[in-house]
């Protein structure tokens, strides 16, 4: 009797999700939590655009505006884009390499709960005296002396959620290196798996500098250290370096998996093998490498001098080369293919011109001398929204439609999907295209209002109208999701009919052990190969046998909860609250105590016995 098919009560389902270590359920948790934060970040964006729709507006105060833009950026990057990508990595990557789970299921759950509690902590700032207000980059010169606890929420919240991301990255790396099915060589891995691999490696080396930067800021603000206190010998440029040594690789951590999603979609719906597979892999690795060499292009106007600026400008432009390789490979994948225009393919198609525009302005701002003009204007705002929305968000929306059937066993409505696409696509260009010109006309970024008669009125109004389009698009997507889940029409293994990779060879959603027998992979696009050879599925690489599975655990939740509690203690410690220190200690005791329990309690997992698997198969046939 498999636990999989049992109907469960509501409480049992909640407990199941609180303790789960199954990568598919963790993916759903990431998708829900990331979706929630995406909506919050989106609401903040709407508030920004309402405030800026007309000159001299007083929809929000200047102080509140600072908080809103800070939280919009921070939420979208750390709490929406990253976890939504992690949702797809968790849901799909282990299936694509033919694994039964990730390498460290326990750590996978811990990563999610750390992210979740960090995100909740950060957003509680709205109710506890004000949100962070120094911008998402939180430059030390502004942040160190920011009043209230806003910046403390930023520092501690991101520290907790950053730890979750870091261990998530290690987990994916080990999974891909050690857990590939027989025959799944590196050069047969689907592109989404490859980009997950490279992005995870980047996470491993990019997040520790952020950890250190946040720690220094925490020490300065909460424990009286002087890293950024110039009068005491400190230096605020250290923060800028540490932040961008993390921050620039971070944007490639976001965009590479997005490239991976689009690579899957292009080849699936062109019904053609991805053009230039090996050059795609090479370009991915090269972008991952170069991504670490360019951080100072965010600091051209800081005053590092012409030599540093020139080196970083050239390095930045070099990244255009592997990215260009990718663009052409996608175009050539469609060339001569039998293209099917599904909703994911709409997004993929629209992504190419949108992202290329972001790339072109990227080369413009990379030109150090010219950047002195663009710096801190709406031109930069337009540029990074073109790459992040035009790249990452379009990929997330495409991936949602593409993998929804695999994750939930139901198919999102195609008509509604296409309406969402058109509204979002038009709204996106309406919002951000004009912002290039607003920047060139002299509108600085991060201003809370502007005066009439400066030629900025029409542009800002157009931009705000575009934001309304995107909001409606997201609402329709939500409606689509609810309708689809209410109707609950189940689909088969390969609902798009053109699936190429291993995830489409097993049921939707897959059983909790994924593969009854590990598949034998005989080439790139393993499932497609077998279909073309006239077979129903993959050849098993092993006889039916016992399957080893990990136990569920509540400990990840407790470890994360402990840090969440400790963060409050650390933060209110500066206000001389008598309860702060005990709270800090209690929180840390919960965290380290839970870790100790995890260490000393044996956890061998359990086995699904061969007989159960055979019986289940008979049951399915009867």
């Amino acid at each position: 009797m498999s636990t999989y098919a049992q109907k469960k009560g509501f409480g049992a389902t909640i407990w199941d999700y609180l303790t789960t270590v199954d990568h598919k359920k963790i993916a759903i948790l990431y998708l829900m939590a990331g979706g929630l934060f995406f909506i919050m970040g989106g609401l903040e964006a709407v508030f920004i655009r309402i405030q800026l729709a007309v000159p001299n507006n007083d929809f929000v105060s200047a102080g509140a505006f600072n908080e809103i833009i800070t939280m919009h950026g921070t939420t979208m990057i750390f709490l929406a884009a990253m976890p939504l990508l992690f949702a797809f990595m968790n849901a799909v990557m282990p299936l694509q390499i033919g694994a039964r789970d990730v390498a460290f299921p326990f750590v996978n759950a811990l990563g999610f709960w750390l992210f979740f509690f960090g995100g909740i902590f950060l957003n509680l700032s709205w109710f506890l005296g004000g949100a962070p207000d120094a911008g998402w980059t939180s430059y030390a010169s502004l942040a160190v002396h920011s009043k209230g606890h806003g910046i403390d929420f930023y520092v501690l919240g991101l520290q907790i959620s950053g730890l979750g991301t870091l261990i998530g990255g290690i987990n994916f790396l080990v999974t891909i290196i050690n857990m590939r099915a027989p025959g799944m060589t590196y050069m047969r891995m689907p592109l989404f798996t490859w980009t997950t691999f490279v992005a995870s490696a980047m996470i491993l080396f990019a997040f520790p500098p952020l950890t250190v930067g946040l720690t220094l800021m925490m020490f300065d603000r909460l424990f009286g250290a002087n890293f950024f206190e110039v009068a005491m010998g400190g230096n605020t440029i250290i923060w800028e370096h540490l932040f961008w040594i993390f921050g620039h690789p971070e944007v490639y951590i976001l965009i590479l998996p997005a490239f991976g999603i689009f690579s899957e979609i292009f080849s699936t719906f062109s019904r053609k093998r991805l053009f230039g597979y090996s050059s795609m892999v090479f370009a991915t690795v090269l972008i991952g490498f170069l991504g670490f060499m360019v951080w100072a292009h965010h600091m051209f106007t800081t005053g590092l001098g012409p030599v540093a600026n020139a080196i970083f400008a050239v390095a930045t432009m070099a990244i255009g080369v592997p990215t260009g390789i990718k663009i052409f490979n996608w175009l050539f994948t469609m060339w001569g293919g039998s293209v099917k225009f599904t909703t994911p393919m709409y997004y993929a198609f629209a992504f190419i011109p949108s992202f290329v525009m972001g790339g072109v302005t990227g080369v413009m701002v990379a030109t150090a001398a010219a950047d002195y003009q663009y710096h801190d204007t709406y031109f930069v705002v337009a540029h990074f929204h073109y790459v992040i929305v035009g790249g990452v968000v379009l990929a997330l929306l495409a991936g949602t439609h593409y993998w929804w059937p695999k994750m939930f066993g139901t198919m999102l409505n195609e008509t509604l999907g296409k309406i969402t696409f058109w509204l979002f696509f038009i709204g996106f260009h309406l919002t951000f295209f004009i912002q290039h010109f607003l920047g060139l006309w002299g509108m600085p970024r991060r201003v809370f209002t502007y005066l009439p008669g400066q030629g900025l009125n029409a542009g800002n109004l157009i931009s705000s109208i575009g934001a309304a389009f995107m909001s409606v698009a997201v609402l329709i997507l939500l409606f689509n999701i609810i309708m689809t889940q209410v109707k609950n029409v189940k689909v088969g293994n390969d609902p798009w009919e053109d699936g190429r990779t291993l995830e489409w060879s097993i049921p939707s959603p897959p059983p909790f052990y994924n593969f009854k027998q590990l598949p034998l992979v005989r080439g790139l696009d393993a499932y497609w190969l077998e279909k073309m050879a006239g077979k129903k599925g993959l050849t098993p690489a092993e006889p039916i046998g016992d399957i080893h599975m990990p136990n569920s655990s509540f400990i990840p939740f407790m470890i994360s909860l402990g840090l969440f509690i400790a963060a409050f203690g650390a933060m209110y410690h500066v206000d001389d609250k008598p309860w702060a220190l005990p709270v800090l200690i209690i929180g840390l005791v919960i965290t380290f105590g839970s870790m100790l329990v995890r260490s000393v309690k044996d956890d061998h997992g359990f086995h699904i016995h061969k007989e159960e698997l055979v019986q289940e198969e008979k049951g399915a046939k009867a």
Partner: protein, 209 residues
């Protein structure tokens, strides 16, 4: 091979830290984690170098005034030796000699405790002799953060090794706990390597001015 199997000296594999899939994952995952830790300490080193001797005014002591070779050299020797004794422990682990492994781990822990004691004495000494406190200058903040982060790692490592020793005191070695001992010793080596850099960059380079 299964993690729960009862093994003897004859059936004990040559590399018990990598003989099951779980062990292989743990082994690789821990190496990758150490890669991340390396970047973490690199960032702290960079911060320290940028803020070395950056003090508000001339009443504050600089690196060349406060560091003394005898103390830090003794601490260095203790930690380096503890790294060697943890190698002996792993040698015996690979030979299924549980008791000998425990003896060498105990020596490792004692040496580590000695190092930690010296570090606490050292910090205390700086605070009282030179008013070199965490909050006195950017230099002091950077110094205590870098060396203190290392000290926190030593403390965590000691707790970890002790927890493993107590947990497995009665049941001896198996393929489930052998990788745990192994990665704990990897961690201990890493701490040692970081200290080599701290000794060079902070203390030796600090003393010559």
């Amino acid at each position: 091979m299964q993690a729960e199997e009862k093994l003897t000296y004859e059936t004990w594999p040559a590399s018990p830290e990598r003989s099951t899939l779980e062990a292989k994952n743990k082994f690789l995952g821990f190496w990758l984690f150490l890669g991340g830790e390396t970047v973490l300490f690199a960032s702290l080193f960079a911060t320290y170098l940028a803020l070395k001797d950056k003090v508000p005014d001339s009443s504050h002591h600089l690196a060349k005034d406060i560091f003394e070779l005898p103390l830090t050299l003794t601490a260095t020797m203790l930690l380096l030796t503890s790294s060697l004794t943890s190698v002996y422990a792993m040698y015996h682990m690979k030979n299924f000699a549980f008791k000998k492994m425990m003896v060498w781990l105990s020596i490792t822990v004692l040496l580590g405790l000695g190092f930690l004691g010296l570090e606490i004495y050292e910090f205390n000494h700086y605070v009282h002799e030179f008013h070199h406190t965490f909050t006195s200058s950017a230099f002091a903040s950077a110094f205590y953060s870098l060396v203190g982060f290392h000290g926190a790692h030593v403390t965590f490592g000691l707790g970890w090794i002790l927890a493993l020793m107590f947990r497995n005191y009665k049941r001896g070695l198996n393929l489930y706990n052998a990788p745990k001992f192994y990665v704990a010793s990897l961690y201990w080596h890493f701490i040692d390597v970081v200290w080599v850099f701290i000794f060079t960059v902070v203390y030796l380079m600090g003393m010559v001015g």
